[in-house]
């Protein structure tokens, strides 16, 4: 069954918090996402510090397209598709590095650092000089810009400027990482791994502070890392029991037990979702939060919101450990997850070691948290294929209808108990995106109202 005949509006029910599971496996939906979301939105490519010298390049993804992000001789940055304009072969088959030019190893067409075609074997003898090289440069992205070192690009020439697309919520999300120090840099090495799931399930998981107490119970109870277990708390198990009958509320809980949340909703589907900054965070000190530049940059809402920021469609900024992750759709049921780690350029050796330890031990495929996450996403995807299983909605009902939106400091936020508003906000925005709305219409439909 495909969704072609269905009304896209029926897929996301904001009144009941019910999402049609077929959006995780339907091929037509996936094609719509590639065209309407990944073909139009500003997408994160890399950080400027990954390509400091002329000729440095990093291969990034924009949906199913691979793009080369290249530092130019004049220090600017350009990005173009990694596919030869002659017969399609990649012009570069390394993930990153430094080069003087890109030569396709099929017939030898050669492109300079700006992607312009500068060499064609047999130009005179075979082509009789009748090939217009200026027409066959590597296809450039339509717009490229960076915000505080974070490089983004879009394939849509009519997309609003990056800062407008990010809006106050997206900019704050990046500020929460970029303003930790005078200068942040990427630690060499990007973790990349493939999960057999739809990209929206790991994205839906970003602001999910409901799952850690169960999914990540082993990480908390076994004290692998200091600070995860804050205290022995009795939690509301709601009747949940392990298969051997042990009541969930008797199990050790930690800093994932969240009752007081600050949810920030932004235009185009961005959000920050999770707990309010509070005493629980003293277990893992965050000294940068008192840095004068930081306080000034993130403002009063940024100082309160301690949840997970997400920039639509697939960028997650982890403010605690100083990391970012993208969840790259490669097929409806295949997602690449990439993780970058950041550190202050002038950090002491001790500070660098502490940050790196946090980054390698928590997330990524061997991370004591993310080891478990993949299971939820892969199984959730697999069971969206069943003729009958797919008819059961994906539920986001927690505190639905009780989120009063406060419009203040140029941001829209909800102060409430734990909720699933950020996920619902993302799906509502997703719906506006795939319906092919114009940029004006998209902005109107993704501007937060007064209630969630």
């Amino acid at each position: 069954m495909t969704i072609a005949s269905d009304d896209i509006r029926q897929l996301i029910r904001l009144d009941t918090g019910e999402i049609d599971r077929r959006i995780f496996v339907d091929e037509e939906i996936f094609e719509l996402e590639m065209r309407e979301i990944f073909g139009r939105a500003w997408l994160f490519l890399c950080h400027e510090t990954q390509i400091p010298k002329p000729g440095d390049f990093f291969e990034a993804t924009m949906g199913r397209d691979n793009v080369l992000v290249v530092r130019q001789r004049d220090r600017s940055i350009k990005a173009f598709l990694n596919t030869c304009t002659h017969r399609g072969n990649a012009v570069c088959r390394a993930e990153e590095g430094n080069t003087r030019n890109f030569m396709c190893t099929y017939h030898g067409w050669t492109f300079d650092l700006a992607g312009d075609l500068v060499g064609v074997p047999g130009m005179e003898t075979y082509y009789g000089n009748r090939l217009d090289k200026s027409k066959h440069g590597l296809k450039k992205v339509s717009q490229l810009d960076s915000y505080k070192g974070f490089v983004f690009a879009t394939f849509d020439p009519t997309a609003p400027p990056l800062e407008e697309f990010l809006g106050a919520t997206g900019r704050l999300s990046i500020d929460l990482l970029a303003e930790r120090a005078d200068e942040m840099e990427v630690i060499p090495g990007v973790q990349k791994f493939i999960v057999d799931c739809n990209w929206k399930l790991p994205t839906d998981n970003i602001p999910d502070w409901y799952h850690p107490q169960i999914t990540h119970m082993s990480a908390v109870s076994s004290d692998v890392l200091p600070g995860l277990r804050v205290q022995e708390e009795i939690v509301d198990g709601g009747g949940a029991k392990t298969p051997d009958g042990q009541r969930i509320e008797q199990l050790p809980q930690g800093r994932f037990t969240v009752t007081d949340c600050v949810t920030v909703l932004g235009e185009y589907g961005h959000y920050i979702g999770g707990p309010r900054n509070g005493p629980r965070d003293e277990a893992t000190p965050r000294p940068w939060r008192t840095r004068p530049g930081f306080v000034e940059a993130v403002g009063p809402v940024g100082m309160e919101a301690n949840g997970h920021p997400s920039i639509f469609p697939h960028l997650w900024i982890v403010t605690s450990s100083g990391q970012v992750s993208v969840r790259i759709p490669r097929a409806a049921n295949k997602t690449e997850i990439w993780w970058w780690g950041f550190r202050p350029k002038n950090a002491s050796d001790e500070e660098k070691a502490m940050l790196l330890a946090h980054q390698t031990h928590v997330f990524g495929p061997a991370g004591i948290l993310e080891q478990e996450d993949g299971e939820n996403w892969a199984q959730g995807t697999m069971h969206s294929y069943g003729e009958h299983s797919s008819q059961i909605p994906h539920l986001l009902k927690m505190n639905i209808g009780h989120g009063q939106v406060i419009h203040e400091h140029g941001l829209a936020r909800i102060e409430s108990a734990l909720n699933e508003h950020p996920q619902l906000w993302q799906y509502a925005s997703w719906q506006a995106w795939i319906s092919g709305a114009s940029w004006d219409e998209l902005l109107r439909r993704t501007t937060p109202g007064d209630r969630m």
Partner: protein, 179 residues
């Protein structure tokens, strides 16, 4: 003693050492495949470093940058304390990625003693870790381990293990096993 006899003794000593190292690896592999993680962690020295760098597809002329180095990003970058924590996590009864447990087979081959020092050995070995999970999932990882083994009163112990995987983008949804 003739020169031939002395050389024979050296040959026998080399063979015995090779045998000891190989038996150590077989016993270690058996512990992992039996999910005896506490006993497995006991095989590491207190100052050990367990490290699996990120590998990147690089052009031939930049192969020196293929692997990240200590101090850079990695898949595993563990002290003994972290290894102990990981073992506790797997034994906690709530590490869902390993419940139902995966089925693993660690095949260790090409064991080469590269260097012999007073109480330490530099040893390179190849591995094939075959894993099935749940009903139909299969993963296999092939690679090389570069170990520093230390002679202690309790026998050989791993003072450093670098794991070089023969993959760049990791083709599995997690690394919930040890190498």
């Amino acid at each position: 003693m003739t020169i031939t006899e002395r050389s024979d003794i050296r040959t026998i000593e080399t063979l015995l050492l090779q045998h000891e190292v190989e038996q150590f690896y077989y016993e270690e592999a058996a512990l992992l495949d039996a999910h005896q993680y506490d006993h497995w962690v006991d095989l590491f020295t207190e100052d050990t470093h367990y490290f699996m760098p990120i590998r990147r597809t690089m052009s031939r002329r930049q192969l020196d940058k293929e692997f990240t180095k200590p101090g850079e990003m990695a898949f595993f970058d563990d002290t003994k304390e972290i290894l102990r924590g990981r073992a506790r996590k797997f034994n906690s009864g709530t590490a869902w990625a390993e419940d139902p447990p995966s089925r693993t087979r660690h095949l260790i081959t090409n064991v080469q003693i590269k260097q012999i020092e007073e109480d330490e050995l530099e040893v390179s070995s190849n591995f094939l870790l075959y894993r099935t999970r749940l009903k139909s999932e299969v993963d296999q990882w092939v690679g090389r381990r570069q170990d520093r083994l230390r002679q202690t009163d309790g026998g050989l112990r791993i003072a450093r293990r670098y794991i070089f995987l023969d993959q760049t983008v990791l083709l599995s949804r997690n690394l919930s096993n040890f190498f």
